[in-house]
């Protein structure tokens, strides 16, 4: 019996050590790949940097820093579509990062990729990001709940009760609308092909609606064979080869 227990404990210790070693090894690899990517970028070897960062993303997942560096590498390599794709991904993981939004804005501006400026109510909803609207909504919900609980325990003036309740509910409603509207633009795709064209029908010989720039954000509507029907930031619509697109959120 004692011997069996000893074996169990030994097995557990060995497993623990092996797991720790494996995770630390992975951490070392991640760090190494990241450094190698940074060094390659510094040397001006952007293709090598892209290869390192892409390998890191494939192996370990998405990190705002890695995606940002990868996007910078793509931008320096002149691959505007993939640069914008990775900036957009990085921005979704770290919405408040001014470096990411600044570089994205710069790349878009340099490539002449301007989207329509939101007007009216849309402009108001674009004041905050998706996560900020969601957080505002949650805070409004918590405040409303706490106030409801407090109003049971403490006797408050009716006017105060009404004002606070309406205020919280209005805020909750606006935040929900903001979240819903901003979520519509949360899952775009990016045109990654340099010579993509929008077609009126889903076949290659169809008449072209016009060229669509690399790096342009589009929203997928439906698929047909190797083609996808999309609407771009400027509200142009048409069929495009699915291979010319890559989704920001997979």
């Amino acid at each position: 019996m004692n011997g069996r227990n000893f074996c169990r404990i030994l097995l557990m210790i060995i497993s623990l050590l092996l797991w720790q070693s494996a995770t630390s090894q992975a951490g070392v690899n991640e760090e190494q790949l990241f450094q190698q990517g940074n060094e390659a970028y510094s040397r001006g070897d952007h293709e090598q940097a892209i290869a390192r960062y892409e390998k890191l993303v494939t192996a370990s997942g998405l990190s705002p820093s890695v995606l940002f560096n990868l996007a910078n590498s793509y931008a320096q390599a002149g691959k505007i579509g993939r640069a914008i794709l990775n900036y957009e991904r990085a921005l979704r993981l770290a919405p408040g990062d001014s470096d990411i939004s600044g570089n994205l804005e710069l790349v878009r501006k340099e490539s002449g990729l301007f989207a329509d400026t939101p007007r009216g109510a849309a402009k108001v909803f674009h004041l905050l990001s998706l996560n900020q609207w969601a957080m505002l909504g949650l805070l409004a919900l918590i405040a409303f709940t706490l106030f409801q609980a407090a109003s049971i325990k403490f006797r408050l003036r009716t006017k105060t009760r009404i004002i606070v309740r309406i205020g919280c509910l209005m805020l909750l409603l606006i935040a929900a609308a903001g979240t819903a509207i901003r979520y519509q633009g949360f899952k775009p795709s990016v045109v990654i092909a340099a010579d993509a064209r929008l077609l009126i029908s889903p076949f290659e010989s169809a008449t072209s609606v016009g060229a669509i720039q690399e790096g342009r954000l589009v929203f997928q509507q439906k698929d047909h064979g190797p083609f996808t029907y999309v609407r771009d930031e400027t509200n142009r619509q048409g069929w495009i080869l699915s291979s010319s697109l890559e989704a920001v959120v997979r």
Binding site: F34, S42, S63, G78, L106, V107, N131, A134, T145
Partner: protein, 608 residues
């Protein structure tokens, strides 16, 4: 009433019978040939019409050496004029000859309605083949036009690249059955035509008194080089000639000799049809392409020919220096939109311009519509007051001259940029990371080199991108809040309910108090302590009576109990025993205590 109805039915039957008899009595026969002279490689249509019969038993076609008869089906017609009914049956036969000559069709015997009638003899001439007989082509055209032909409109002089709308019409005689095997194709050099749509418009037209099915394609032609370009349109079709079924009479005639299966209808359905290919060719037309004049050709002419309008608009007019502006240039009208290019923005040190993106929206065809060019432009300094006018030039084929149209300048209000120019600063860790020295591809520009530098902290990894409101902690917190709100709402409802019905609250308090007090009494009973039993019983009674009578429990005495419940109430006895025990220290047996407990439970629960 019933008698009248029977009479009417009998009368109607009699009338129908009389009509039938009358119809049978007037059987007449007509035979006609569509052409009394035709080439040997074609044929004529023989029509045998029997009037006054609803059914034909047999038609005895004569055997003529070198002549074939092919059944082309039967049609029937019924006329009712002023109550008198007449019917006629027509049988059609295609008459073809094996060699030229003059032939006579002898009388054809027709058995209908029990009568045998005969046609008159008919003579006709079969000439040589169409080509032999008409070397100039006139005869060919005329005879083939009886079946199908193509018509195109007259063509005028045009310019290279000019889009010329054209309507191609294919006519098919309704007397014949035909299939089309191909779409019309253009035969000719120096002219191009886009692919035709597979489903043309279908109409019917009368040509020289003959009804034709008409297939219409609307398309365009464009000359690609100057010169005279003769062209024709052709298409392939098949003429379907019905084949006579081979008659199989397994029982040697008799009963099945005149069966319904000998109806010519089955010849067309089951007998099959021979497909005879026919080639439809339109008359030759000349597409004359004349070169565009070189005199007065504007420098910005890109090859656009047609009639266009220009409209320029900006998405904003108040902006800061360095802020992008979207310029929309709309060129609308009709013409060769593939040659319409964006008007070039005038060279100016005040503006930075980007490549425009084009979108064409047609208005039902490829040569009328609107082409919109969206171009991003950025003002470089705040001295700019307006967006410069844009010009577009095209050649008008009607005026036969170049036309240049210009937009009006658009006033704008520019203010100095409030954003400080980006000065990238490397974080301390990245000091060892020099700025990229190798300028990569041609697409990189000075702007991109001003990007914020690399991140040197690896950061946390995530498997997927999930918005905040879909993360588990967010959902848990939101769910918790909602549950708390639901609980608070229910609590509030309960409170309001109790406030509306105070008796329920009183009952609830009484029940709660009774349960607590009886529990103490039971504990005293279990321990066998009669003093404690009686004391707790007294308290229980005082509490219940106090709530019921709205008095302080301590104010309830034996006297008030007697006054309210009466002398005989068992509770008065227990209360008196409790009073006595409190002042005199009396004891109770276990049985007595059990009895008191039972009474007290019953009486107190029954209190109003």
């Amino acid at each position: 009433m019933q008698h009248t109805r029977k009479s009417l039915i009998l009368l109607a039957c009699l009338m129908v019978f009389c009509c039938g008899v009358e119809a049978q009595a007037d059987i007449t026969l007509e035979a006609s040939l569509s052409h009394l002279s035709f080439p040997v490689d074609q044929g004529a249509l023989l029509t045998i019409t029997v009037n006054g019969a609803s059914r034909i038993s047999t038609i005895e076609l004569p055997e003529i050496a070198g002549i074939n008869f092919q059944n082309r089906g039967q049609s029937s017609r019924i006329n009712i004029i002023n109550g008198s009914m007449s019917s006629s049956l027509s049988n059609n036969y295609l008459v073809q000859a094996q060699k030229p000559g003059i032939y006579t069709i002898p009388p054809i015997k027709v058995n209908a309605g029990g009568e045998t009638v005969s046609t008159k003899p008919m003579s006709f001439e079969v000439t040589g083949t169409a080509k032999e007989g008409a070397p100039n082509g006139d005869r060919t055209d005329r005879s083939s036009e009886e079946v199908a032909f193509i018509r195109i409109p007259e063509l005028a002089d045009h310019y290279p690249g000019e889009i010329v709308p054209i309507r191609i019409k294919a006519y098919f005689n309704q007397k014949y059955r035909a299939d089309i095997n191909s779409l019309p194709t253009l035969r000719g050099d120096g002219v191009v035509m886009p692919q035709l749509r597979e489903k043309p418009a279908q109409t019917q037209e009368m040509v020289n008194g003959t009804p034709f099915h008409v297939l219409t394609w609307d398309t365009t032609l464009a000359g690609i080089k100057a010169g005279r370009h003769p062209l024709t349109f052709s298409m392939e079709a098949s003429l379907l000639i019905p084949q006579k079924r081979r008659q199989v009479l397994p029982f040697g005639g008799g009963l099945f000799d005149d069966s319904a299966f000998n109806d010519p209808f089955f010849d067309s359905v089951f007998g099959g049809a021979q497909r005879k290919p026919i080639d439809l060719v339109s008359p030759e037309a000349v597409f004359n392409v004349i070169p565009l004049p070189t005199a007065n050709q504007p420098k910005n002419f890109s090859g656009a020919i047609g009639n266009f309008t220009l409209k320029v608009s900006a998405n904003r007019q108040d902006l800061e220096v360095g802020e992008p502006l979207k310029l929309s240039v709309e060129i609308a009208g009709s013409g060769n939109f593939d040659r319409v290019e964006a008007p070039s923005f005038p060279d100016s040190p005040d503006w930075k311009t980007y490549t425009p993106a084009a979108t064409f929206t047609d208005q039902g065809n490829s040569y009328t519509g609107v082409k919109v060019f969206d171009q991003a432009i950025v003002a470089k300094n705040d001295t700019v007051k307006e967006i410069l006018p844009l010009s577009f030039s095209y050649f008008d084929p009607v005026k036969k001259d170049y036309v240049t149209i210009s937009s009006a300048p658009i006033r704008i209000k520019l203010t100095k940029s409030t954003i400080a120019p980006a000065t990238p600063s490397l974080p301390p860790q990245s000091a060892a990371v020099p700025a990229p020295s190798v300028a990569s591809p041609e697409k990189t520009s000075r702007g991109i080199e001003q990007m914020a530098p690399l991140n040197v902290q690896l950061g946390d990894f995530q498997r997927e991108i999930t918005p905040l409101f879909l993360r588990s902690w967010f959902l848990t917190l939101a769910t918790l809040c909602i549950l708390v709100l639901v609980a608070l709402f229910l609590l509030q409802l309960r409170r309001q309910n109790l406030q509306k019905h105070p008796e329920k609250e009183l009952q609830r308090r009484k029940s709660h108090l009774l349960a607590r007090d009886l529990n103490l009494v039971e504990q005293a009973y279990a321990s066998g302590n009669s003093l404690e039993f009686l004391a707790s019983s007294r308290t229980a009674m005082q509490n219940q009576m106090g709530l019921s009578w709205n008095m302080a429990p301590t104010a309830i005495s034996l006297t008030s109990l007697k006054g309210r419940l009466g002398q005989d109430s068992p509770l008065v006895e227990i209360f008196a025993a409790a009073d006595a025990a409190a002042y005199g220290g009396a004891t109770l047996s276990r049985e007595k205590m059990q009895n008191y407990l039972k009474i007290m439970k019953k009486e107190l629960e029954a209190l109003p």
